[in-house]
Symmetry: C2
Subunit: 524 residues, 2 copies
Amino acid sequence: MNGAPDPLGALGATIRDRWTATRGPLFCDMYELTMAQVYVHGGIVDRAAHFDAFYRSNPDYGTHQAGYAVAAGLGPFLDWLDQVAVTDEHVNALAALRSPTGTAVFDAAFLDWIARPHLFDSIEIQAIDEGRVVHPHEPLVSVTGPLGAAQLVETALLNFINYPTLIATKAARVVSAARGGAVLEFGMRRGPATGVNDGVRAALIGGCISTSDVEAAIACGVQPSGTHAHSLVQAYLALGMGEVEAFRASAAAAPDGCILLVDTIDTLESGVPNAITVFRELRSAGHRPVGIRLDSGDLAFLAVQAALQLDAAGFDETSIVLSSDLDELTIWQIRDQVREDAPRVGLDPAAVLGRLVYGVGTRLVTSHGASALNGVYKLTGICDADGVWQPAIKVSEDPGKVPLPGPKRVWRLYDHRGVAVTDLVGLADETPLTDDENVVHHPVQAGVHKTIHRSDIAQIEPLHRPMTPGRTDVAVDELAARCRADLERLDPGVQRLVNPHRYHVSITDPLHRLRQDLLARIDA
Amino acid sequence: MNGAPDPLGALGATIRDRWTATRGPLFCDMYELTMAQVYVHGGIVDRAAHFDAFYRSNPDYGTHQAGYAVAAGLGPFLDWLDQVAVTDEHVNALAALRSPTGTAVFDAAFLDWIARPHLFDSIEIQAIDEGRVVHPHEPLVSVTGPLGAAQLVETALLNFINYPTLIATKAARVVSAARGGAVLEFGMRRGPATGVNDGVRAALIGGCISTSDVEAAIACGVQPSGTHAHSLVQAYLALGMGEVEAFRASAAAAPDGCILLVDTIDTLESGVPNAITVFRELRSAGHRPVGIRLDSGDLAFLAVQAALQLDAAGFDETSIVLSSDLDELTIWQIRDQVREDAPRVGLDPAAVLGRLVYGVGTRLVTSHGASALNGVYKLTGICDADGVWQPAIKVSEDPGKVPLPGPKRVWRLYDHRGVAVTDLVGLADETPLTDDENVVHHPVQAGVHKTIHRSDIAQIEPLHRPMTPGRTDVAVDELAARCRADLERLDPGVQRLVNPHRYHVSITDPLHRLRQDLLARIDA
């Protein structure tokens, strides 16, 4: 993919520019602006502050819940942060906003502040790379900067990372269910309008090998996928020709990439036999037919029956592409049924399973069953008038909603098998696991702690690294490779589609004590 | 909103330009392009063809299902269709795409075709206006044009209308549950990345009166909403001040639009009393405080208790804004509980309900429970070599998936009360209900028919009208008014949130007979 020819690279860059430009500096919730005005008036708009973006629980699809998530969206956010600029047009518009009584919402002091050149330049970001496996309660992105500017980026940052992380996670699950079978992203038509492009990029990070969305494919450096719809067969039928003529025309236009959709009339009685006729013609002409696509009916039954016909005709190497409301559970069920059914008709189940390809559309790009990630952005500290950092906290009736105070870092601990066993969240100036025995705490539940023995840990990997605003030169396929590498080091139990084993996220003792002190101070 | 000052109008136009530009001519599924190449080779790429976009069932949220939908997304599609242009950069990129064996995917004949200037200019569109109430099986958008061009717009059209229609529908339901209480759209942070702007526009069409998304608000000509987050109170606490100082600072920055978030420490013990302190100061200074916001806990209980405190302090006109995972069912339940609880503490329930405002975020902009609309785009006819229209059909094991053939129109029938009773789908050249007794058929179920007496129908409204590509000059608030007007003429039973009465969509006898003839011809 890095060796994409230049015309594709050039258009890809143009498309990514447009994607970035579609979100301007006022791509934010109104309250970011009204709060910034309060800070301007209070003389604290340039006070240094820390914020953390994190999420509280893995996507829960109702009948099943993810055991992990896959971080996505940071790259486009960093590109936006570098490009975005407040112009006179924005300032004039903000100056024109009126309260219900007709007074100006924003005053001159605020407008002077937001019109400052390089408003976001002094923001510093520590974050976990895109494509990494991540877990609840750990800061995915930590922002340090002047209070007003660091507050202002809240909504954009959450918007840039919440949905893509949700979709990269769903994609990783679908890919996991496919057990090595290729997964193609097909969700453009029912996805969330322009958001579908963000979703496609995330799906590629999560492990889809291609997408039907041509612009997104070119922008992300992959080959787009797709052959023909029912309408092609319908058109030939309406013009008095047959399905075989439609297939022949399709094959002639793409002799080396021929995939035929076989369910327009009757899959087993018409579609597959006609496909075989055309495949024979292709083979005679020296081409290798690629496969068929099934888009309705009992996909497991039809896949086995189609394989039987294709094998009998000598096309045992063609793919069988499945589509139609697929997700991780339907793929799991289809594969399970194929495993049962194939031997009954004398087929090797592994051979049938090995030729399946999955076109996954709506349910991937909308994260069917869990349509949002509950990511939040919380103030964790602010400098006082003397330049001393003061940690910030928020109390809540729900202990799961008390954020972790202070500037923090995340370390991933691997055991001697190379398996990730715990993510440890501590204060930024800590060196983790300096003792033989280290008491760590549950991130939420009071009184729950355990001891980590340094000798059990083979590797301590810092997950945060400083991020520079600007366009990344890391290709999407490299992000996908990062995701695969993390999944290889994640316990299979944590990756289980249903009822996964819970991955441990712990906080260090110093962080735990800081939070307890702050809570005690508020209670007092 | 039409009287917005010019700086807002100017920025709004800039933002809408960027929204349109973010989708280029290759914003399509790959198979649209490969099919067009087949049509170029077959010499039928310029053959006139009809396609219909329609959806098959109303959004089903699992425990409840919508009884109707609200059309949205057509305006931005028409703008895109007018603006989009294939450039050399696109042609060069397409020419660079390679099949798995390394051969070019697209040949010179296809590239010549797609490089034609004004590719989409001869497309004609008949459609139902944005903001109208719509129903399953009726063509929302009918496209007539050269086969290749009319096929090529499929994915973009579906992408432009499916998600916005889904969100406008959800918004109309949420607004219905609020029974006149204002609904504000707050979903930007967890919405589908850039798609959130499309969602906000649709939510405004469906009846939300404002949004927190500043860019989308300005683009749509409404005033953005929002005051402050927990982080403002947290910052003041971390700096050694109290909640009341935070509220005072917030009030000072927006004395005429002051809404205070009261749940950072303890809603009833700290937040509301501190808000009342600051409201008194505002009143002394000649300002009218707007209200408080509750964002956690038992919102119904807290709203009643907060109302009690506010009334006792003489602030019985302040609003109580509720937020936190609201949707149509939670709003219904909250209002029900307030109705029960308010009299127990001596409050007039109508007065409490009348001051509630609803900030609805994630669950609106992701259409919680039904994350996609099942809209499709089907070939319904094509001209043969002699210029004679040939209707197209697709058979399916599922009768609900057999599309209605031929070019069609939709008429809405109103009874003598002015209530819409049936949407009638017929052939484009028909005049509906010419007889006293008119047999009409179920759009899907074979053998189900009924008789419509002309005398029972007071008005026959054609819903389709020709649409011209280009930017619409209809403001979003006019689209919202259209939606309200349609809902006023829709049976309340059809609008019921749970288990709605089924609205009748029927097809005319000539359309029914055409479909039966075509099916018989394929069976033969």
